[in-house]
Symmetry: C2
Subunit: 464 residues, 2 copies
């Protein structure tokens, strides 16, 4: 594999450290090394250029895992292995939508993850619009019967991205609701904050016992066009064609890289990300960046020849996007030793700078959280609250009781690109990547070396 | 046609003016009426929603002309007519590009206007990159023979858009140069300033005696990906498939709307725009906005019941984008009466606010130019120089000697959307549209009523 990653050669030089007098010196060295490093950026450049889109079960799933294993070894992780993750496979296929009356328009459209296909010739039906999921829920079957439902709810832009939670229900729920009410298909306004003719995909709710209708997202300018067409008061008919479908089972894998602890090697600080991505872009911000950040964070400690007391594990999870399959498989495989995962966190919110550090730990760990906060404060990060959520790929471990932290990233622009063809490397600022990796390195180092524990929470898991 | 444009009904109410004491009162009325009007925005909304993309010779060419004639009549123009414009028709068709080695990637690509097709199965060849047209010109045939040439020149962003002129040569010239040097095809980095996976089309040079190779633009993120792939030093092979081709002749028409002058009805102030657009978006900023601005400018005078001394003519030109066909046909049809066109101008640079007023008139008209400058100064417009260029659709009349003016618009973001699928209504600010239409109304009113002439220039036309 020596020639695989030529751009990375320089970044991997091991640093010869001066004798470190005290912990403060070590933290300063991590900060200096991390902030001057382009490693995290180079890793996401390598992944997006040499692998590209990584839909779970898609043509690049295996190549992504090969890339990750080779790279973790190259970065000096002590132990690299994979754990199988099996899930139903979904495939995208042809997708098109055309307004046929009163004026002909081609719409920029993409199937929602999990959508089944239209009949081979497509569906042509009149469009009925709702400006929110709530309005759709309240609509009568009579109004929806035989129609293509258009849910046109705009997502507001916020630094912390909370507009997503306010609007993503339209994407997640509409297909089943429209099926219940006798509609033929659903188009949603993309859940995003941009003005580009690039629709945002994303998973919708799929249940074996509750079939949905074919569902797709239109780009935001196309949603505005549909709105303007409907405002004329004449019937708007759309022809929709989707070939997307479920196709058997696929076995992928979680990829794990450990930096072994010197004193408590069987205890872990868990740093998660997901290796899969949607298929439309190259998965740079979602979540190539997160994996690159976490890999670089540990590589920084290794490059500085720092030996943590506990092990630090990077989990590159399989198929987060349409199944949370890797997170579920990890929690299941490691349930018996769950409490050995003393604390965890995930990077899965793009490549923006971290502005706040939240925790979800028991009281006995408040002191070390404050210590971490002081260590990352020079990076421009403030201390937040103790209600951290943890990311999706640590959510099942958190449900078992694992303490978590959040490094809150500036997501002001994240939903301009999220789940679109625009999720590409050029959206990433190398300096913000360096800041992220440095913060996680400092967290991992201090958490792994913390003498006490972080507490444990009662399990909230109902379907183990 | 009464029910065609319901949204416009309110905007068309004729204003009952108080008795106007003097010229200053009239100018103030035009300013107030224009700036409070949404007419220009409503016109571009109507055109983009009810007609959509308007490729010269394409499926919407005739519908656009019908729209324009009906709307000019509805707006109260005294005389509406069309003049035939015949040109070779170009059609877009299938278009795709895939990197096949060393790593597979689908590229966002679109044929350049005028490109011929690849062989049916497409072309697969190694890519050779140049960072400028100049570098391509200097390259040897040996290097280019059998290759797909990639011209990767970035366009800088400027308020006046002058980065376009600096880089558009790569789009215009590369196909013929690559053909001369034995290359198989050409990919250019899109001539644009955005970071979207939406390629920018645009015309390339086409000569009967000098065939070019098939040519396409890749989006800017894809150009950066290609660059990063090539930087690895291994052969990069691309499979390119284009179906675009020339297809006989088509007869479209220029659409003309006149507000007849009271004293010199056979003298014209010419306000131009082009009715056609590229096919990827809905032609909102290029040039639906320009036509809407010019139509609204004259409609404002009509709504205020103002009767100019000279006639004011709006020319909605046919097929500017890949032939300048309407401009050529107009100059040819009106060559004998060219000097009756006392002055002209065009709106064809999007929908941004006007910040400067340039002229190209003889000395005797400097006074009235200053008067116009004073009238539009309250709109935030400064007086510029006397080297105005005139837009493309008045260029042939200018070549005959016609004086012109430029209303310089803020084009900072224009090339983010220009010639892409992103050229849609949502990119337009209604207030900026109102400012534009008001400025042109003031210009048209003062120019039409100017007692003297504007001079005439020596013809620079070499191929009449």
């Amino acid at each position: 594999m020596r020639t695989l990653f030529p751009a990375l050669l320089l970044a991997l030089t091991t640093i010869v450290l001066p004798v470190l007098a005290n912990d403060g010196d070590i933290l300063e060295h991590i900060r200096q090394h991390g902030q001057n490093s382009r490693l995290a950026y180079e890793l996401v450049e390598s992944l997006t250029t040499e692998v590209g889109p990584r839909l779970g079960g898609g043509e690049n799933d295996a190549r992504a895992r090969e890339w990750a294993q080779a790279m973790l070894k190259k970065l000096g992780f002590d132990e690299v292995h994979t754990e199988p993750v099996t899930f139903p496979r979904w495939r995208r296929d042809v997708e098109s939508a055309t307004v046929v009356t009163p004026y002909r328009h081609t719409l920029a459209v993409t199937a929602l993850g999990g959508s089944g296909p239209t009949p081979t010739g497509g569906i042509t039906a009149e469009v009925i619009a709702f400006d929110s999921l709530q309005a759709l829920r309240q609509a009568s079957k009579k109004d929806i019967q035989g129609k293509i439902v258009f849910v046109n709810q705009a997502m507001p832009r916020h630094k912390d991205g909370h507009g997503y939670g306010q609007t993503v229900g339209a994407r997640y729920m509409s297909s089943q609701i429209v099926a219940e009410k006798g509609g033929k298909a659903v188009l949603i306004r993309s859940i995003g904050t941009d003005n580009n003719r690039l629709p945002h995909t994303g998973i919708m709710k799929v249940s074996a016992d509750k079939p949905g209708v074919p569902a797709a997202a239109v780009s935001i300018p196309d949603a505005q066009l549909l709105h303007n067409l409907l405002a004329r008061g004449k019937p708007v008919n759309v022809h929709l064609k989707l070939g997307s479908h479920w196709d058997g089972e696929y076995t992928s894998a979680n990829v794990l890289g450990d930096l072994r602890g010197e004193e408590k090697p069987d205890e872990y600080v868990l740093l998660a990300c997901h290796l899969d991505s949607w298929d439309l872009g190259t998965g740079a911000i979602d979540d190539g960046a997160g994996c690159a950040i976490m890999m670089a964070a540990v590589a920084h400690l290794k490059a500085l020849d720092l030996k943590p007391k506990r092990s630090i594990r990077v989990l590159l999870a399989a198929n987060e996007e349409y199944g949370l399959a890797g997170a579920k498989a990890y929690a299941k495989a490691h349930a018996a030793e769950a409490r050995k995962h003393v604390i965890g966190g995930e990077s899965d919110f793009g490549a923006g700078r971290i502005y706040r550090f939240d925790s979800h730990v028991q009281k006995q760990a408040f002191g070390v959280m404050d210590e971490i906060a002081r260590a990352i404060a020079p990076l421009g990060i403030t201390r937040g609250h103790n209600q951290a959520k943890g990311g999706a790929d640590v959510s099942r471990m958190k449900a078992l009781g694992m303490p978590v932290v959040d490094m809150k990233q500036d997501g002001t622009n994240y939903f301009d690109y999220h789940h679109t063809a625009n999720d590409t490397l050029d959206k990433i600022d190398p300096e913000a990547m360096a800041q992220n990796a440095t913060a996680w390195a400092l967290f991992a180092w201090l958490a792994a070396n913390h003498e006490g524990d972080f507490g444990w929470f009662e399990s909230t898991q109902h379907d183990p």
